[in-house]
Symmetry: C2
């Protein structure tokens, strides 16, 4: 692959995921072009950028014309605009992206593939909500069907009196009610499948959220039964959509069983540990997959922990003082609740890892 | 560290070393600006570039004004221009850079620090050469004192008749004659020291050259005695120059002893394996060192082998088909004898590594 005929990858959205995709893809001799509203977005700092809205089909066409394949960083890229504007292969699957954007379609998809989910019901009126609560019981979680992320657009309903205010707050858009899962832990699996159908799976990561935002992940979460189950679930999704790229499923673990919470048809925050903690990172494997290159080894190297920096970044020198620490700034302006960066710890010993993790969590405290 | 006050690093030269420095430095939240003649140089593909000659003091001043610290990719950056033009800290040491650019000063430096070298003598005339051969014996190697790299500007003298033609060919510039070392192997050590004096060392790498160009490296080369000796040698150099950054010494091993061949006051081709094969890469540690951040763990993770791609790149899919392979293209146009990229293999088993290395060497054959 020479400089002249270097393959080019278009990325819709130049957030941290796009930035890390580009940093992982440069060694493969690729060039990257982003579409984003902001010139100084994390990805724009490390690649070319076309300024524009994700939903602008004309801009998507312009991006397409500069590249060999188009992928995305933001999950909420409007699928109609993609179908209209993108003139190159769009990977992963726009069909799965569409379902992932709507919690109702997503839950129905899980159901159709025998992937266990919490009980759920669509809610378009207060009457619907009352009927759904009757069926599902309380506590339950009322969520907007679309555009929810990092805990936004959700209300936990604990008693009858919660229904009306929650519906008033969220009910201007279509909703879904989901049974509240009293989980023991949250885990996620990341799978990757290439254009020609080769598939690999990372080990489960155990994830800790607060206020709906991922705070930290520890991997591998070693449980052979759950690992096998998660792989079978994700493999069904990958094959159903003839998927090319990285796919993530977040699960609750309750009574020792997996209950699917949501999918992300892309690289995922709970997989950032793979940059240092696996033979091949999720970012490199996504790039390999969408270009139909052989996939890389997903084996973990020792134990890893990833901590998100939200709202503020700790001093880089304090983080790097922790043995085995790797610091990742996304080059963003600080803002409350914003994911600005993360750090990953690796160690051959899980005990040592957990001690260092405690230290790092103290640094990350807002 | 926010986007607004992100630290900026200037790199003189936008070759593959600069490119890999930038790729390692972005996660630390840094920005990179290169000075290079060519807009499409490997570094220019992943960072900002100022177009200009390395030896142009005005351009070095312009680069300085955009950044917080200046480092370099090319070893032959003219030191006078650096002293005149660079207005920010220039790291590593310009004094050691000056000595590293001249094989005579370099050998004298080794001598002054009790680091064993082959016998050597300056050669400015045919008479000097005859006298030097008298003293050192044959075979010996006649080299230009300056601007030699990758085996260029060298002639091996095997018999008396070789002297005159070799001198005719090279003698328009100052030369050095070095005793020919009948070595068992070649190894290199990479050390890193931060502004405040913290130092770390990578394990020795065993290097195989052909026609003066590094073909492949295998690390770690495990020999406790030689490792300790190499660390003491490099530590003396680091401390003497109050050095900040990565430093490399290439040694011959002869009769089980280390004989210093040359120094590179920068990240080194024989350390590319550290990207995947060590907890912290030489590139990240160089950046940490020149910004006075805590240095990262240099421990190797299993066994690694790095193979250079010279003149042509093998197909990326053939390389990635080898388990544990990582591909690095520098985004350069192919040209005979040009280093275009490399691949690194990692494995927990040295036997497995050597089998895969053989496969990779076949792919890399020109």
């Amino acid at each position: 692959m020479s400089a002249e005929n270097a393959k080019r990858v278009g990325i819709v959205g130049a957030g941290q995921l796009g930035r890390m995709l580009a940093l992982a893809g440069y060694p493969l001799g690729l060039r990257f072009v982003f579409l984003d509203k902001s010139k100084d977005a994390p990805g724009g700092q490390v690649g070319e950028i076309i300024l524009g809205e994700f939903g602008d089909a004309e801009k998507l066409r312009e991006l397409s014309e500069h590249v060999d394949v188009v992928t995305f960083d933001v999950e909420n890229v409007p699928v109609e605009a993609v179908r209209e504007g993108v003139t190159r292969p769009f990977r992963p699957s726009v069909d799965l992206l569409e379902k992932a954007q709507d919690r109702l379609l997503e839950k129905q998809l899980f159901q159709s593939l025998d992937i266990p989910t919490p009980p759920f019901a669509p809610v378009d009126s207060l009457a619907d909500l009352r009927a759904a609560v009757e069926e599902i019981g309380l506590p339950a979680v009322l969520k907007t069907r679309r555009l929810g992320y990092d805990g936004k657009g959700q209300r936990v309903l604990r008693e009858g009196a919660d229904l009306e205010p929650a519906f008033k707050e969220l009910g201007s858009v279509p909703l879904i009610l989901e049974g509240f899962v009293n989980f023991e832990r949250e885990v996620s699996i990341i799978g990757v499948r290439s254009v020609s159908g080769e598939a690999r799976f990372y080990p489960l990561s155990e994830n800790t959220h607060r206020e709906g935002i991922l705070r930290y992940s520890v991997a591998p979460f070693e449980d052979r039964t759950l690992q096998g189950l998660a792989e079978r679930h994700i493999e069904r999704l990958l094959n159903t959509f003839d998927y090319a790229g990285v796919l993530t499923i977040e699960f609750f673990v309750a009574d020792g069983k997996l209950i699917a919470n949501e999918i992300a048809p892309r690289v995922h925050n709970s997989g950032h540990w793979t940059i240092e903690g696996a033979v091949t990172s999720q970012f490199e494997n996504h790039i390999r997959a969408i270009l139909d290159l052989p996939l890389g080894d997903t084996t973990p190297m020792g134990h890893s922990a990833m901590v998100n920096f939200i709202g503020t970044m700790p001093a880089v020198e304090d983080v790097l003082d922790i043995p085995g620490a790797h610091y990742h700034s996304y080059g963003k302006e600080p803002r409350p609740g914003r994911k600005l960066g993360h750090a990953t710890l690796t160690s051959q010993s899980r005990t040592e890892l957990m001690m260092r993790l405690e230290h790092l969590l103290n640094l990350a405290a807002e």
